[in-house]
């Protein structure tokens, strides 16, 4: 009768925040243990089963040759592979370093770089096929729950990727960009967070990555009109998803 989906959770180059977001489902945690058979989760379990999994959540980007091998192995043993959070999708914040020569980056931190095997950070999609992405740094708990439920129902989760402005409007917020002339990234960033930042008086910095079909060039132009210089604009786009094809131009080469 054991038809619980077998689940695995992995960490690569990242901060564990996405796994924490999972752990922060305190109200649902015990339900989840009943519904899923968690077979691999290093941060939580000592006995980890490396056989095969129905669903794997992968947190973190890929930044070493060892990680490339590991993610390929995981792909082989996984039916449904989820890029869990921005790092796994496109490298996220750590990818800011990709614009600096790797040697320079390493020399600044380590006296002896011979034992460091880092490369540019990328998302896991660079090396393996990904079945679903959960946007966000970290993804919102609700989207995680949506993913779990749709996995149980075997349907595609409803994860809308329209702009943050939509959620911002749902909250009846005054627009920071048009009324306060603050450089908000909302119009090009994917919804999912509930527009937390604009609702709390801060511009959207873009932690859910690009929305579907964003017009980054136009927003960059708007920022320029507001008095931001080239470097400011690059910094804005070269943050959570600078490597994404959608923001690549604005993030600079």
């Amino acid at each position: 009768m054991n038809k619980k989906p077998k689940m695995a959770i992995f960490k690569f180059t990242g901060c564990a925040g996405c796994q924490l977001e999972f752990l922060h489902l305190e109200d649902e945690f015990l339900d989840l243990l009943d519904l899923f058979d968690i077979r691999y989760w290093k941060m939580i379990k000592r006995d980890n089963d490396e056989k095969e999994w129905d669903i794997s959540l992968v947190e973190g980007g890929i930044s070493t040759p060892r990680e490339i091998e590991e993610i390929k192995q995981i792909r082989k043993k996984t039916k449904f592979l989820v890029a869990f959070g921005d790092c796994a999708i496109g490298g996220c914040i750590p990818s800011i370093r990709n614009w600096t020569p790797q040697m320079e980056v390493e020399d600044y931190v380590y006296p002896d770089t011979s034992s460091i095997h880092s490369m540019k950070v990328t998302g896991i999609g660079e090396y393996v096929k990904v079945d679903e992405i959960l946007k966000g740094c970290p993804p919102h708990r609700d989207t995680l729950i949506e993913l779990f439920k749709s996995a149980l129902l075997k349907i595609r989760p409803r994860l809308r990727k329209h702009s943050v402005c939509v959620e911002c409007k749902f909250n009846d917020n005054e627009c920071l960009l048009t009324s306060k002339k603050m450089a908000c990234m909302g119009p090009v960033i994917s919804a999912g967070c509930g527009a937390i930042c604009p609702t709390l008086g801060r511009v959207c910095e873009g932690c859910f990555g690009p929305m579907s079909n964003p017009n980054a060039a136009a927003l960059a132009e708007i920022f320029k009109d507001m008095g931001l210089n080239d470097k400011d604009i690059k910094r804005k786009f070269r943050k959570y998803a600078g490597m994404s094809p959608e923001f690549r131009m604005e993030a600079g080469h």
Binding site: G17, H24, K45, S118, L200, R202
Partner: protein, 420 residues
């Protein structure tokens, strides 16, 4: 010459990717002991260069998903020190409250989710949840309380968003704070029960006197600010951190090893905090400590769990105190950029956390220096292990292995942080 080899390729129930290696020779000597951190570095210090002062907190937050709040506050304070800004009392209070909430969350996670399964004989909390439903539920409830406070003040629990240089972008609602206050009151009993639980579970008898360091303030149990103090006489301001602490690289580890200048490795974390700042604990926390039967200062690293539980009692008391004095008024912030270096030390859940930034005239970062608690501890873990293994050398191999892992988990290392 090897008789036994202890090898853990990927240490479970800690944050991040680390391994453990050591050989025991026939005559009981320990060789090749390595706490190998193979977590890939993300080079925060490198890519922070060129970023603006007001986004540093947002970036350093991503060093760690468990203790983002600590990184945010440390960054903010370092930047404020560089810009010679003294934030308002309200900002300090709110920061302290959110820092404490993060301590509650992280410490409960460490105690209940990561370490308790060892002490109660489970591989993880998952099977334990069936047999000890009440205990697990208590853990979840306490953790949720911590998270909800972070959520309320910061906007979300992981990588909160409201903290700014010299203030907050939005203040929490008073009504919601009152609801939290009520829940804190109710959680008090859970905190006492936690202390009881961790004074009852059996921990290894092992003591190694090493240097314990924490920030300290005579007026309060220091979290966000204090003098950098040790049990061996170190007593300095955060600005002079680099005069006393330096790092060395070990080839097998991406985490650097910290040393006290002219001395040795040292420990930071809840145990050093309780040891050094026992006097400043709330009276209930002190009382709970007394009842536990353990004497402080204490140099058994496994007592760290109990120290976390004692801090939990204190954290709840302190949170209520802060909520009661918060007025919550909108405040104006005005920031002028200037060049300079600023540094700060705070107590993250896992111990002292150092950030230092060099800014140019336009507020752009020219240099960054970050030392997280687990980087402070990494070398000390090896030193402890070296002594500890000697005391359990006669046990079967898998038990030695488990005990070694338990020692690592007592430190609740945050490996991603340590590498950053």
């Amino acid at each position: 010459m090897k008789e036994k080899t202890i090898k853990v390729d990927y240490i479970a129930r800690v944050e991040g990717q680390g391994a453990l290696n050591l050989d025991i020779t026939k005559d009981g000597k320990i060789e090749n002991l390595q706490f190998q951190v193979f977590e890939p570095p993300r080079f925060f210090e490198s890519f922070l260069i060129g970023r603006r002062y007001d986004e540093v907190m947002e970036l350093t937050s991503r060093i760690c998903g468990i203790c983002p709040v600590a990184h945010q506050i440390t960054s903010l304070r370092a930047i404020e020190n560089a810009l010679c800004i003294e934030p308002s009392q309200q900002t300090k209070d709110l920061r302290k409250l959110i820092a404490i909430s993060a301590h509650i969350q992280s410490n409960v996670l460490s105690m209940y989710f990561l370490s308790l399964p060892d002490l109660m004989g489970y591989e993880s909390i998952i099977p334990m949840a069936k047999d000890h439903n009440k205990i697990v539920k208590r853990g979840l409830k306490l953790k949720k309380l911590g998270n909800d406070i972070t959520d309320l003040i910061g906007g979300r629990a992981v990588h909160p968003v409201t903290m700014l240089v010299d203030g907050f972008s939005a203040l929490p609602s008073k009504n919601k704070l009152q609801v939290i206050r009520k829940r804190l009151k109710e959680a008090k009993q859970d905190a006492f029960d936690t202390v009881d639980l961790f004074s009852e579970v059996e921990i290894p008898e092992f003591t190694r006197k090493c240097e314990h360091i924490a920030i300290s303030d005579p007026k309060e149990y220091a979290i966000n600010k204090g003098r950098f103090k040790s049990t061996e006489g170190l007593d300095t301001e955060e600005t002079f951190y680099r005069d006393h602490i330096y790092e060395k690289q070990a080839a097998y580890s991406t985490a650097l090893h910290s040393h006290v200048r002219n001395r040795d490795s040292f420990m930071v974390g809840p145990l050093p905090r309780v040891n050094i700042n026992f006097k400043q604990l709330s009276s209930d926390a002190k009382e709970a400590a007394k009842r536990s039967g353990i004497k402080f200062p204490n140099y058994n690293p496994f007592v760290s769990h109990l120290a976390r539980a004692i801090e939990l009692v204190h954290d709840i008391d302190e949170s209520i105190k802060i909520i009661d004095r918060l007025q919550l008024k909108e405040e104006k912030r005005e920031i002028t950029c200037k060049s300079g270096y600023g540094s700060a030390i705070t107590e993250a859940p896992r111990g002292s956390l150092y950030h230092g930034f060099d800014l140019d005239n336009n507020g752009i970062v020219r240099g960054a220096d970050i030392v997280p608690p687990t980087a402070h501890n990494a070398y000390n873990i090896e030193k402890d292990m070296n002594e500890f293994v000697k005391t359990i050398i006669d046990l079967p191999l898998d038990e030695i292995t488990l005990k070694c892992e338990m020692l690592v988990r007592a430190y609740d290392p945050c490996i991603s942080c340590s590498v950053h």
